[in-house]
Symmetry: C2
Subunit: 282 residues, 2 copies
């Protein structure tokens, strides 16, 4: 395994970790000062900015983009909604290309309002991803299917496990031309098939990103109560070991949604704590 | 599929649905008045009562016991804790035998406090279940492994999917002598492997219980915010269809934890709503 304390170029900070409170230029400044290798910006953090200008700043600062977050949901009650989502996602792919992002992260959406058709929602996603993939290949932006925790299956992601994501990769992109996965420990740590699916994912060259945070006990919110690495129960070194033993050499990206705690702290404190925990417990 | 509106003997009410507010005798009265075929009592609801007397009352009322809830957690930080849990579970199995319960429901426990060893917790459970199974076979009480939603993996159940539960059945009880599963839609509805694992479970004669409630959007608590059937997004008829197409003819048991809603309503309203929803949307 890599020693993250001596490889700052492997570290990445997802801008959501700051609670979308500070400007993208401030994020770049903070990360550059600390030698962080990459960031993963959200689209909302670039609103009102020239993507070309931000991309140039990142290049000058020698900061990569470990992922661009994230897709508009693919699932909708009608075809017009799905078409609008696809077009929006195409624009985001173009921005991801300009940023030189390692991948465009796909959070796929849950069951459309008023429906109970989980299987139908999953079909909608597969159709939408296949369509987006054609555009993404032209733009040379890999798409990363991110399975989200099953507790979000109704309203955020009907894609719930790494195995399911890899099944979709095999179906939609059998030759491995542009579709992969993002492995976020918060979403998949519980999965009894995690180790075997990580090996499968690495063998298929599908892993486009690796995200860390922690699962708190108790967890008080289904979305916004993630923990800082080390404060919860996830065996982070073990999971990274599985990935790196199988050849993973990409970024280790911190993504923490924490409305009641970390999002209330000064960004410098958040970032310095992330770095310290990346060095010691990840 | 069975018509639940004309087969009241197939219906069961888990006493947790009433929020543990009313006496077991009152539960029996309410269910007898409505011709409900079975109940699933919790151990706490029998405290202070003679199990033999309750068992006799149920027999007289022609009310079955679709399951006895539930095991003390198998996972502990030390051997003494695991031994105490096993002994407590043995006593519960004896009570389940006296009640004539279809099964003793196993909620297995999460990761012991202070640990991050999820695999180790799972090994603890398998060891404990194997030990309990010896006792349960003598008592002629089937044990039902209940996979709980992955959002409870840290603090309630490191057994997270139906497939995992069936793997454990095959390992611990390869000849199918007393170990099976309880399928609770709330915990497994999201699983992309659900249909195939239900078929597998039925082929192995492993399904000892089927529990219904619903997944609300939004869900505001990880444990106590279950919905009444029909109020959420679970396609209940589809899942019951998978079970019954594969031969399931056991009880359909309502188990709703709802601190902010149903547990505040009069027990008669809760029960009558359960029955109406069992008749119409399950």
């Amino acid at each position: 395994m890599r020693d993250l304390a001596t490889t700052p170029e492997c570290l990445s900070i997802n801008t959501a970790t700051f609670g979308h409170r500070i400007d993208i230029d401030a994020v770049i400044d903070l990360c550059q000062q600390r030698g962080i290798g990459a960031i993963a910006p959200w689209r909302r953090d670039l609103e009102g900015h020239s993507v070309a200008r931000v991309a140039a700043r990142l290049r000058t600062a020698n900061i990569g983009v470990s992922g661009y977050c994230r897709s508009t949901y693919f699932t909708h009650t009608d075809e017009a909604g799905r078409r609008a989502a696809l077009e929006d996602n195409m624009r985001a792919v173009d921005d991801a290309a300009e940023l030189g992002a390692t991948c465009f992260v796909l959070v796929v959406g849950g069951i459309p309002a008023g429906s109970r058709d989980l299987a139908g929602a999953r079909e909608q996603v597969q159709t939408g991803v296949a369509a987006l993939l054609e555009h993404a290949r032209k733009a040379k932006v890999p798409l990363a299917l991110e399975p989200l925790h099953p507790m979000t299956a109704a309203d955020r992601s009907c894609l719930s496990t790494l195995g399911q994501a890899l099944d979709w990769c095999d179906e939609i992109d059998p030759c491995g031309q542009g579709l992969g996965v993002a492995v976020d420990v918060y979403h998949v740590w519980w999965d009894p098939a995690l180790q075997s699916q990580i090996v499968r994912a690495m063998q298929g060259r599908r892993v486009l990103g690796y995200h860390v945070s922690d699962w708190l006990v108790p967890t008080n919110d289904l979305v916004l109560d993630r923990g800082m690495m080390g404060d919860g129960v996830i065996d982070l070194k073990r999971i990274r070991g599985w990935l790196e033993d199988a050849g993973y050499d990409g970024a280790v990206e911190v993504e923490i949604f924490s409305a009641a705690n970390w999002w209330k702290r000064p960004a410098t404190d958040v970032l310095d704590t992330c770095i310290e925990r990346l060095h010691t417990v990840c």
